[in-house]
């Protein structure tokens, strides 16, 4: 049972009656009148449990984009339905305008749409659908909350896709550079073509030249069908907020850009989301199925407040990869965490694979380092200086073990990782 402002107005109208007949009895009588009329109105309202509700919601939406949750309400009772419907979603789903007033004759149906603008990655589950029906007078009504399941998967924003066209162009340049490229390790024979001035004479294929009248050179193209394994670390270091977003968001952007680029380059990309156990995995996908799988798996990656199990990660990598591959560790260059975790086991990775550690740097530390305005700021600067030195030292130790270390600001991490990938590819180090 619920009352509306009209019931309040009815109660307020009693003031007039009381002024005309100033007695306690008048108040009592009016109270009984309001009560009886409200109860009657509520009894005459259509039952909120005589409404068939069906929900339509997209299976997924990209962060910052809008999705529409549509409820179809069919009046299966015999009375006319006047109701207020609330389609409840969690706050981060951005369902701001989720109350709808409807009038449905018996047997008829209506559709109401709630626009969702999610502000958080992950699965958003619809909460209850609440229907409040009103009686013919609109004084009072009945209310019921129904469980109408619905799930909206909010995929990562993939803002770094703006870097994809320029990187793809670079990738095509790699193809084209075959003619002038030094014949090095790790490049693949592509085709034969006529010699043009400027080509490396060492690329001339003498046998083919002998068979034909022209001088023929071999062309090369970057290797294809290499394997790229992206390991996203969701341990405690990924929860730290850099600028306004946790570190993991920047890592996810980098993973998506690299996956898109490597897929176009013809490599096979896999993903493991790991902290102490596998939280998500993409494997065995190829072509157009890679990106949806990545987005889906990364949508659910959430930072866990536990320490990463690097030995476990190495075990996973060895289990997945039998041949040489590019292993990208999206983690943090946190001196303590790296020293106790990664440094001990990284040799097992680098002896078989090309390893890249991509870490999100914190611009705040740089700002702290240059602050001089008072004594406390100088001490903070000294601490920032020390942190920077330790990071550099740990990066050096990792590089000595053959790891490519990438330390970039959140916005730069994705393009830098793509550039690193292209550079490794051009050098034939995959």
């Amino acid at each position: 049972m619920a009352v509306t402002w009209r019931a309040v107005a009815l109660a307020a109208a009693g003031i007039l009656a009381v002024v005309l007949l100033p007695a306690t009895g008048t108040v009592l009588l009016w109270t009984v009148l309001v009560l009886v009329v409200c109860v009657l109105d509520a009894l005459l309202a259509a039952s909120p449990r005589q409404v068939a509700v069906r929900r339509e919601v997209p299976s997924s939406v990209r962060l910052t984009e809008a999705a529409r949750s549509t409820l179809t309400l069919t009046n299966v009772g015999r009375r006319k339905l006047r109701a207020l419907v609330r389609d409840a979603w969690p706050p981060s789903s951005g369902a701001d305008d989720n109350r709808h007033r409807i009038e449905v004759p018996a047997g008829d149906g209506r559709r109401v749409t709630t626009t969702l603008r999610p502000t958080r990655r992950g699965d958003a589950h619809a909460d209850l659908v609440t229907i409040r029906t009103f009686g013919p007078l609109g004084l009072a009504g009945r209310q019921a909350s129904l469980t109408v399941p619905g799930r909206l998967r909010v995929l990562p924003e993939f803002a770094s896709r703006k870097h994809l066209p320029s990187r793809l162009a670079r990738l095509r340049e790699l193809d084209g550079r075959a003619a002038v490229q030094v014949r090095g390790p790790g490049t693949e024979f592509d085709s034969l073509r006529e010699y043009v001035i400027g080509d490396d004479v060492r690329a001339i294929d003498w046998r083919a030249t002998a068979r034909r009248a022209d001088v023929v050179v071999r062309t090369w193209r970057p290797e294809r069908d290499r394997r790229v394994l992206i390991v996203l670390d969701t341990s405690r270091t990924s929860a730290v907020r850099v600028q306004d977003a946790p570190r993991i968001d920047a890592s996810i952007e980098a993973a998506l850009l690299l996956a898109a680029l490597a897929t176009r380059a013809g490599d096979r990309v896999e993903l493991i989301v790991y902290d102490r156990t596998v939280r998500g995995r993409v494997a065995g996908q190829s072509g157009p199925r890679v990106m949806p799988a990545f987005a889906d798996a990364l949508a659910l990656a959430e930072p866990q407040l536990i320490e990463a199990d690097w030995a476990g990660i190495v075990g996973q990598v060895r289990q997945r990869l039998s041949q040489r591959a590019l292993v990208v560790l999206l983690s943090a260059l946190d001196p303590a965490a790296v020293e106790h975790g990664l440094l001990g086991v990284v040799n097992q990775l680098t002896e078989r694979h090309q390893v890249v550690l991509a870490s999100v740097a914190d611009p705040e530390v740089d700002a702290l380092r240059s602050a001089r305005h008072d004594a406390a700021a100088v001490f903070d600067a000294a601490a920032a200086e020390r942190v920077g030195l330790e990071r550099a030292a740990v990066a050096v130790r990792l590089r000595q073990r053959g790891v490519e270390v990438l330390d970039a600001l959140p916005d730069n991490l994705a393009p830098k990782l793509a550039d690193t990938y292209l550079a490794l590819k051009a050098a034939g180090r995959l």
Partner: protein, 400 residues
């Protein structure tokens, strides 16, 4: 990424799986505990209130069972068929008392002439207990004496039938007859009634006025002593109706000329409108109080700023006044950046670094050495100065 696919749940949802009966049952389950506790509280309150009979603690009140009360006398009178009416207001006295009734006045500290006028006008027999001022106000023939001293056993020593019937009483006080119309009894032991007694009777304009100077004979404690009971019962039981008047401090003046309060100024309709407004407020509370479905909760992410650990370290340095550590960090940072700028390896020896920096910045090498490897500062100013000097050095190196 794929185009979003609309998912529709095949079976529409009708109702929330409850019936009127199950809802009533769940409501009962939810409310029975609070209701039970409320009921228990009410019961305990009632039980606590029950053993307390309707009694007062006012002195000589007919419903006061304490030693200083007068419930015994009132009950005996009631049993004998006297209609005892206990009142605290003069208006009630005026309403209840008539020529064929008795009015008992206990104490006169809270009354004035308007009250005594009313008492006189009723025409009822008056019994004045411990009311010296009222005695002199109502009768011209009895003069108030002092009532100090402890009650003592006194004999009648007069020919008033009530006093004679009582014989002896325990009382104190010295009431004096001012003229021949008054009879005074129960003088102090060993003295004559002319010296004053505890009890006196006179008649003023056909109104019989009996006076008892002492409260003691009426009290529960002393009613049974000597002839107290006889005197009291005869004194009070002369008529079918007894108006037992104990003045109340909040009694308005008998004339009704009280100071107008806020209650007299406000028209009565305001109270009723106030009640109606209460109803409006209650309905409005119901209107705004009922939520349209439950509040949806959500787990919030942890917010730890990346710079927090660095700041914490800075605070630790500062609290422990670790100027040496702080200075070493600043120097190492400046040296590392300058070396990178000049193309020196990180592992370069101090002497090499000093030489290279001196060349690049144009300073003397002992200056550079003092700056990079000198003794650590010992206070805040020294550290700030070092930081500024290192900044200068670095900018000079970078300019070169």
């Amino acid at each position: 990424m794929s185009a979003p696919v609309l998912t529709t749940h095949a079976a529409p949802v009708v109702g929330d799986g409850t019936t009127g009966r199950s809802r009533a049952a769940s409501r009962w389950r939810r409310w029975r505990m609070p209701l039970g506790i409320l009921g228990l509280l009410c019961l305990v309150g009632l039980l606590a209130a029950l053993p307390e009979p309707v009694t007062s603690t006012a002195s000589l009140a007919p419903d006061n069972a304490l030693p200083g009360g007068a419930r015994a006398a009132a009950q005996i009178l009631g049993d004998q068929g006297v209609d005892v009416r206990y009142v605290r207001r003069i208006a009630d006295v005026e309403r209840l008392a008539g020529p064929d009734s008795t009015v008992l006045l206990v104490g006169d500290a809270l009354i004035d002439t308007s009250h005594t006028d009313v008492l006189r006008k009723t025409g009822a027999d008056l019994v004045l207990v411990d009311a010296d001022w009222a005695v002199s106000e109502l009768t011209g023939s009895l003069g108030a004496g002092s009532t100090t001293g402890i009650p003592q056993k006194r004999t009648a020593e007069c020919d008033d039938p009530d006093a004679v019937a009582a014989g002896t009483i325990t009382a104190t006080g010295y009431l004096q007859a001012l003229d021949g119309t008054a009879v005074v009894c129960f003088p102090a032991p060993g003295s004559a009634t002319s010296a004053g007694g505890a009890y006196g009777v006179t008649t003023v304009d056909d109104q019989r006025v009996a006076v008892l100077t002492d409260r003691a004979p009426l009290t529960n404690e002393r009613l049974a002593d000597e002839g107290n009971a006889a005197l009291v019962l005869r004194m009070l039981g002369r008529h079918e109706r007894l108006v037992w008047y104990i003045p109340s401090p909040d009694d308005v003046e008998a004339g009704g000329s009280s100071r107008p309060g806020i209650a007299d100024v406000v028209p009565p309709v305001v109270y009723v409108v106030g009640l109606q407004l209460l109803l409006v407020a209650a309905v409005a509370a119901l209107w705004r109080g009922r939520r349209l479905g439950r509040v949806v909760t959500e787990k919030m992410p942890v917010v730890v700023r990346a710079g927090e650990t660095t700041r914490g370290r800075g605070r630790l340095y500062r609290r422990s006044r670790a100027y040496g550590h702080a200075a070493a960090a600043l120097r190492a940072g400046a040296a590392a950046r300058s070396c990178a700028r000049l193309g020196l390896p990180r592992s370069a020896a101090p002497l090499v670094v000093i030489e290279a920096l001196a060349r690049a910045s144009g300073r003397r090498s002992d200056q550079v050495e003092a700056l990079l490897y000198g003794p650590p500062p010992t206070d805040d100013n020294g550290l700030a100065q070092l930081a500024r000097d290192l900044d200068h050095l670095e900018s000079e190196v970078h300019r070169s």
